[in-house]
Amino acid sequence: MRQRTALYDEHIKAGAKIVPFAGWDMPLNYGSQIREHRVVREDAGMFDVSHMTVIDITGERSLAYLQRLVAADVARLTSVGQAQYATLLNQAGGIIDDLIAYRNAEGFRLVTNAGTRDKVIAWLRANEEPGVQLVEQALAMISVQGPNAIDKFVAVTGASAVVELKPFSAYDKDAWKIGRTGYTGEDGVEVILPNEEAPGLWRKLLDADVHPAGLAARDTLRLEAGLNLYGQDMTEEFSPLVSNVAWTVHFDPEERDFIGRSALLAQKASGFDQKLTGLVLETKGVMRSDQKVVTQAGEGVVTSGIFSPTLGYSIGLARVPRGATGGCQVEIRSKLLPARIVKPPFVKHGRAVFESR
């Protein structure tokens, strides 16, 4: 039996096509994923992301514990409400998951992926120490995204403090945690709230013409924004250094011995031969994950590929030899088609942001 979020009935009412996703029944789209994509780029859309895992870490050792577990230094979150995108690594420096860590009054809140829930909890538990308490929370989460997201959210909730909220920070309003974060490349908020309050907020946002958007639009939006998806663009086989998220690893201070640190330092010292980068297809067709990439520096593989609704052609992320640049080819149905290596993101504020083709 798959789990349902507190918003399941709302999805059905909105005409959602429901699909199984990481053990949950989730909305894939509400008719047209391209329309949902455009609404988020041009106005405001909302996603049910209640399937994501929320773990609260408290106790006097919570800071030291997370400094050991997470590749980013959470001590840099000096005030309550600050948040950090980070990775959880194994001893070999491979990525177990990506997450957002929020500093709160009692310790930290981690938001991790749904598909990795069991292994993440097992890993956190296996490394648990005295003075740390881990509690998984059963909460709902609604992500409101788009250029008009903040205005509409404030209009229906009265949460006017959101306007002043900096990106990657959050504040608590009663039982809600409201963060200025997202996975679309647009401005917006992610609200973590009690299950029983979620349908009410959803309906108010609907009344304010915030359009529901499904998992399918979420994937095209995040890829246009150049954001990795765990399980495709990041896996346990690869470190953040070769996954285009080296910026999330904090090697300073030197004495912070986080799990995976020595492996990453060894990788830095010996040099690495791969990188995760962006691809633009220069002809008709659609790149998909697992397709072969042929570059002048050797072969690579597409990790995520889509048709970009904003750009009108196919874009993707690919793991290629580190020295690969410029023109390359992607093998689509036994044909080698011309593509180009670019630096993500692909789209910002509704426009192409890499050099024009």
């Binding site: 789209n29 994923q33 391209i34 399918a216 067709g285 659609v286 998909r288 048709f307």
Partner: protein, 130 residues
């Protein structure tokens, strides 16, 4: 609820076939376009190309995935709907009309009898969902 016109024949791989004046027009069903989601790219066969029944003849790509379109009957391709190359969304908007893919001059029209009627196709779709 998907639309499944009575007068058409269907393949279990979700193509429809319409015989008119000795030529079979082929497209994908309403059920198929709905399952695929927004269609963003269509690759059509060459005119004059011979095809066997159940052979891949075209490709449809939605935002979600690529799917092969199989020839429901054997014969040769006599026309393709090149409008779809510029406006693939027509497949979603009008799957049984302007969203057709190609026309086949069949070697043997009796092959159409091996396809499903609307009722059997609807049942097959329902069975697939459960």
């Amino acid at each position: 609820m998907s639309d499944t016109p009575q007068e058409l024949r269907y393949a279990s791989t979700h193509e429809w076939a319409r015989l008119e004046d000795g030529v079979v027009t082929v497209g994908i069903s309403d059920h198929a376009q709905s399952a695929l989601g927004d269609v963003v790219y269509v690759e059509l066969p060459e005119i004059g190309q011979p095809v066997a029944a159940q052979e891949e003849a075209a490709v449809v790509e939605s935002v979600k995935a690529a799917s092969d379109i199989y020839a429901p009957v054997g014969g040769s391709i006599v026309a393709t709907n090149s409008i779809l190359e510029e406006a693939p969304e027509i497949v979603n908007e009008d799957p049984y009309g302007d969203g057709w893919f190609f026309k086949i001059e069949p070697d043997d029209t009796a092959e159409l009898d091996g396809l499903l009627d609307a009722e059997a196709y609807t049942e097959a779709c329902e069975a697939e969902e459960h």
